[in-house]
Amino acid sequence: MEKKGGKPEKTKFQVLVIGAGAAGTTAAYFLAKAGVDVLLLERGPYPGSKNMSGGAVYSLPTRELVPDFWLEAPVERVLVDQQYWLMTETSAVKLGFSSVDFDNPPYNKFSVLRAAFDRWYASKAVEAGAKLWSGCKAESLLFDGRQVIGARVSGTVNDDILADITILAEGANPLLAEQAGLIKKAEAKNYSLYVKQLFHLPENLINERFHLKGRQGSVIGLLGDNTAGLIGTGSIYTFREHIGINTGISVKTLAEKKVNLSDIIDRVNHHPAIDPLLREGTLVEYLAHMIPEGGFNAIPSMVFNGAVIIGDAAGLVNGTHGLSLAMYSGKYAADTAVEALEKGKYSRKVLKAYRDRLENSFVLKDLRDNRKVPALYSENPKLYEDYIKLVNQVAFEVAAVFPVSRREKRKLIESRAFNAKSAGKMLLDLYKVIKVIR
């Protein structure tokens, strides 16, 4: 029998935050710390139960929000080793940097599993005074004319919840904002679909395979053959007793090329460089999640009368800054809401301070600086693939020992490289990349 949600003890809050992910929880945490009466809604049975990341949390930006978070947060490993593998079907050029200096406070990156991390983070918000309703889904936004005044919720609570300000942190699919007509429907070209598999392996075996000590960890960015030559990316993360491997490809590309991501990941797992890492691992979770990757040009309107959009729902995410963009958008939304509550005004004009805060921070500066990158890849889909193949070919020739003089070998390598691409074409491609990446 379907359990019917009860009536809540109260139905009016100063601020309603929809979604207890990295963005929503940050907003609720700072609002509660400022003494605001805030309700945090989570549709899953607990915060983190619907969330997925590669995943790392970046220490320097995060500690500005929650000082020394690593002392209490459920972090898995201290990431001290960062590698990039440029892969073809049978080979990989491996680049990397390891430093045990990253194993000292304030650290650099930690691997985290979101089910545990987000649950902990939400508990911090609750500790600070936020109300958290899990298993409670916002079905639609409530309006008074053009003013957002709350949301109709169902699940553990069935009621209309009113709020002076509503913060939409609903994640990659901004269904509430779309339904209400606040923003246009999301477009396939601006999203990548990621599949992540998590394998269980004993801690000591992971340490052996990745050459790690104790709780130190490794992350490997995968480029090239792991996406079967399609526009996409992937990575391998070490957790304490798990290895996560994820692959992401543009949703538009999957539809156009008619490939299924689950077939591609089977192939990745059997790659000769990856198979030995995962061998004998037990698959314990298989998840899928979309990430907005349209960059600056795909960011929708974020400010409305009585409401703001934060985190993934506003496209505020990228590979370099990971969760940090979402968290900071939550912080800026909270700061703006506190100001608005003091003024007692919740119009679009007052809440626009949220957008201004984003503009003046690394969040929008970074997205703006890189606004041409998504188009570079979609206009030059073979850019990555061609050069990754070339680099592997050259590396093969360098590594192979032929019964010829070194001078002859050098000539051979040069001719291989310039046969694949003319020097002029390479310079042109280099120019294209430099023009876009500043």
Binding site: S49, C136, A288
Partner: protein
Amino acid sequence: MNLQKQVVVDCYHFSEPCVEIVAEKECDSCRDYVCLYVCPAGLFDVQNGEVVFNSSGICLECGACRLVCDNIRFRYPAGGQGVIHRFG
């Protein structure tokens, strides 16, 4: 096509499927089958030339299907229902 994906995830029962085909007739004339390719759980299939959605299968709630076909209405399961990430 192999649609049996190795999906390993916890799931609490759901009272309604996440995906609803808006107008089934539209699917009859469709030969693009983009839904089949984007669904990471392999919940769409073609049987006798018709697109069918496996409404008892576990939807991973990614929402990719809704971006590639306007004939698909996607919504999240009711509060507390659907997939439960143990790790994430």
